[in-house]
Homo-oligomer: 549 residues x 2
């Protein structure tokens, strides 16, 4: 906690201040836009950008993570709350904050139980497919606001403003940094300055509203944004705890996943150490803080954290400065924010999530591993067809499915002796010699419940196709662990082989595995020694074989 | 399909006939009892014991599996249907059959898609904890029927009859086989004959009902059992498809799990080959057949299959004979079955499920692997606290949880050279020498999404504690696969290390892994060669190091 403050050096301050200013300017349109995605009044998005990052700065482990509203988590919030409360009602806001509390408590609990390994339930391709699917859902949801009417209809002034905002944002994203560089700006400064385009476009569009009388033409705006800091919120709906429990679990999981993948990418860039259990606690505390300040579920945002990083943030002080600036902006007159046109906000959302549409992971997976590519596509399709919440479950199921499916086809090599040597190698890849009365199998995987059936089947097949075999030696060079299921399987294979006059032996068992096996009955049941090497097994068993020369 | 019939030899017939007779006699009380567990009229249990085993004989892969009603699946059926239809109603029966259809279609689909690996989603300890938890739930559910009133009340005549039946059954289970052996019966025959005790106890109790006028005293009996074969049933409730989908998936999964664990145990005993995809198809067809004959979800039963096996069954003909005998029994007068006292049936259920209360797995896991023991206990507790359906989900979550948790702590060894040799070994276990400018790490696990984070953290730690290292060599002897997530991680580690002036190298990459990596950009990015051995990596890198002698 606050370990970064104790090591703070004055040289870090300019970077942190610059990043704080940039992130605060990014946060105003982004926070308001994501609050709209969540179905909440825009100002709630700013509330959720003040206390949570400060609390995260106290407890989190990433130096440059920017915690606050985030597109996917906002979408999930809307999906959870919309069926429970009318849009715009007080209950809706209460439930959104309560959802942040549930997610926050779940995250805190997982952190205290040191369950950081939960982030490993999503494979990279599944994560990417999930993100792309969610980005499409979010962008599609904004088309109606952009056009001012349900597609394919449109409200001309809204659609023109929205379209122009979209065009300006896309052009700025593509060309602004290059332009600024050509104007002599330092490349890194140009990149950061270009990220302020949404703020500029929003300011310009807001200025156009009174100038052109757009409100009178029917262009919708954010409406009154209350001035002043958020009040302390402790309101909860006791009737809804149960309904929020499961969604809270899912959202907590997604908050953790999103934040970890963002923080990991940054930590790699600056060789920082990220502690997943601290991250759980930091995010949990941030979500509880979001509830207390009347917000909604928050997480680390990849795009915002990248800007924070690029703008020079060295420590979480940058986030604290950004939060202070946002708090200041709320105490200043906020009348102008009321005129912010919604089609422009929708355009900023669409452009932001278009940045999440990366297909590199799919392309790499397609070339490298079709199973992973299939998991990518299935997760994306799951999000589009069933929604983001179900998409999380589909993603976990597919990650686990590919894992167990792969485990169910372990690599097992039949070994033979390289003539004249002590080396035993895969007979399919080397000119190695086998003995008719002896089968040597090298199992190239840890033995666990996911592959014992497949290993057992392979042993059966080999024993059946080598009816002369009297000894079966399992060479365990690549086996680093044997779980309880596999222990039982070994005992059963030993019995079953024994009934057919085949003796089971183990060779090259690793130290830690052997230490563990000594806690079981297996070694006693095997009857023979554990051989230190395949060669020693071969020599000992042949010397013992009756009738051999 | 029917492959066993083509290789049928007359010598197999006596065993099959004997087993068929024994299983049929077991089936009558057992089928009726499990129908009661499922909340259905007792005769439905006999219906479900006729067509399903015959259809399984056509499509299944186990030679000695006895398919029919089974305690846990019956309990799940009751849990699913009870909230949807009043007990005893026509709708209840229709939905139970429809549930068998849904489960059957799910199983058929999984079989056609060759998804037999699904059985690997349950670890052995989780399966054992699940079974014990379910057995306790089932036994507790029968106490009321046994006592004739809700515990702690009791209806004296019912409780006396139930208690006496229980006592007789427990004594028979413990001592009958020994007694018969001492009377000169062959041990195997004595064991089988002892398994007919439930039938004898039921017959005796049924005889007592009219003799003592127990019905008039208020002892409940099964009531009229309609004579004749089941009618063709195609009735479904179109309003309930959606409600039955998810339970159908869960029940299909449990049907498959239960049947596989039973069939595997038997296949090991007789060295038969079990094909999990055929098993899915056989069970799927059997459940569709159960629906068509007005039954409910069925599966292979461990205890009944063991009796079938012990009584001499060599092929599925034994099951066909048992089914034919049951069909015959329904065409004979069934009036006597109406007098079968429910407390006695409850006693047979309790004694049957007490056989499922095995604690050996827990005991072994406790000694061998506390994590697996914890998973056992948590699954059992989950079944007791949340019910059997939720227990399945808890079981899968815990199996996957222990898997990912273990994966998140992979074994990684720092290697050094055994002085004067070409061998590189774990410096913690061997007196091996390291070089200050070179780090050698052997990763003892397949690289996949579940452990890349942990491996990355370990690499970070080692690089941080060895600031002089200029080369990091990952020795891949134990790595048999690298998934897409790990591929990305390797690329990122390479970049991140490169920024600090540390070069990443790979050594001893297995053939299949290397073939796969050639489909990616990684090898090009690494810049250096893949070393054939740790020794070659060490020599080459030292030769290349500037300023070395």
């Amino acid at each position: 906690m606050l370990h970064w403050l104790r090591r703070y050096r004055r040289a870090m301050l300019p970077g942190d201040v610059a990043a704080g200013v940039v992130v605060a300017m990014m946060m105003i349109p982004q926070g308001m836009a994501y609050a709209l995605v969540a179905g909440l009044p825009p100002v709630v998005g700013i509330y959720a950008s003040i206390l949570p990052p400060v609390v995260y700065a106290l407890f989190g482990s990433s130096m440059t993570q920017s915690v606050g509203p985030m597109a996917i988590v906002s979408l999930m919030t809307a999906a959870v709350i919309a069926p429970l409360a009318p849009a715009g009602s007080g209950l809706y806001s209460v439930l959104a904050a309560q959802l942040a509390l549930v997610a926050g408590l779940v995250l805190l609990l997982c952190g205290l139980l040191r369950m950081g390994f939960l982030a490993n339930f999503f494979s990279r391709p599944v994560m990417s497919g999930f993100t792309v699917g969610a980005a499409i859902v979010i962008a599609a949801g904004q088309v109606r606001t952009l056009l001012g009417a349900p597609f394919p209809h449109f409200h001309l002034p809204s659609a023109l403003l929205g379209g122009a905002s979209l065009l300006a944002l896309v052009l700025a994203k593509r060309h602004l940094a290059g332009l600024l560089r050509r104007c002599g700006m330092r490349p890194s400064a140009a990149d950061v300055a270009a990220r302020l385009a949404p703020m500029l476009v929003v300011l310009a569009a807001t200025a156009l509203v009174p100038l052109l009388g757009l409100e009178a033409m029917g262009v919708r705006t954010t409406g009154d944004v209350p001035s002043g800091l958020p009040h302390l919120n402790l309101a909860t709906s006791s009737a809804h705890w149960r309904a929020l429990l499961q969604p809270g679990l899912l959202i907590g999981f997604v908050v953790f996943l999103m934040s970890m993948s963002s923080a990991q990418a940054l930590a790699l860039k600056r060789n920082e150490k990220l502690v997943s259990n601290h991250e759980l606690i930091g995010l949990g505390a941030a979500n509880v803080a979001s509830m207390v300040s009347g917000g909604f579920p928050v997480t680390g945002s990849m795009s915002r954290s990248a800007v924070n990083f690029a703008a020079g943030a060295r420590t979480p002080l940058a986030s604290v400065i950004a939060a202070a600036l946002l708090a200041l902006s709320l105490t200043a007159p906020t009348g102008w924010l009321a005129l912010l046109p919604l089609p422009t906000l929708a355009a900023t959302i669409i452009v932001a999530v278009l940045g999440m549409l990366e297909l590199d992971t799919l392309r790499t997976a397609w070339r490298y591993d079709r199973g992973d590519a299939a998991a990518w596509l299935a997760t994306g399709a799951g999000v589009l067809a069933l929604g983001v919440e179900a998409g999380v479950v589909v993603g976990v199921a597919l990650s686990m499915g590919t894992l167990i499916w792969r485990a169910s086809r372990p690599h097992i090599a039949v070994l033979g002796r390289i003539p004249g040597s002590e080396h035993f190698r895969n007979i399919e890849r080397y000119p190695a010699e086998t003995q008719p009365d002896m089968l040597m199998l090298r199992i190239d995987a840890n033995l666990f419940f996911g592959n014992v059936e497949a290993v057992g089947e392979r042993i059966e097949d080999e024993v059946r196709t080598h009816p002369g075999a009297r000894h079966l030696v399992l060479v365990m060079t690549a086996v680093s662990s044997i779980d309880t299921s596999a222990l039982f399987a070994l005992e059963e294979w030993n019995l079953s082989l024994g009934r057919r006059g085949v003796t089971l032996h183990l060779a090259e068992v690793k130290g830690p595995v052997l230490d563990r096996l000594k806690q079981s009955d297996l070694l006693r049941q095997l009857g023979g020694p554990i051989f230190l090497s395949a060669a020693m097994a071969c020599d000992a068993l042949h010397a013992a074989a009756p009738g051999r020369p």
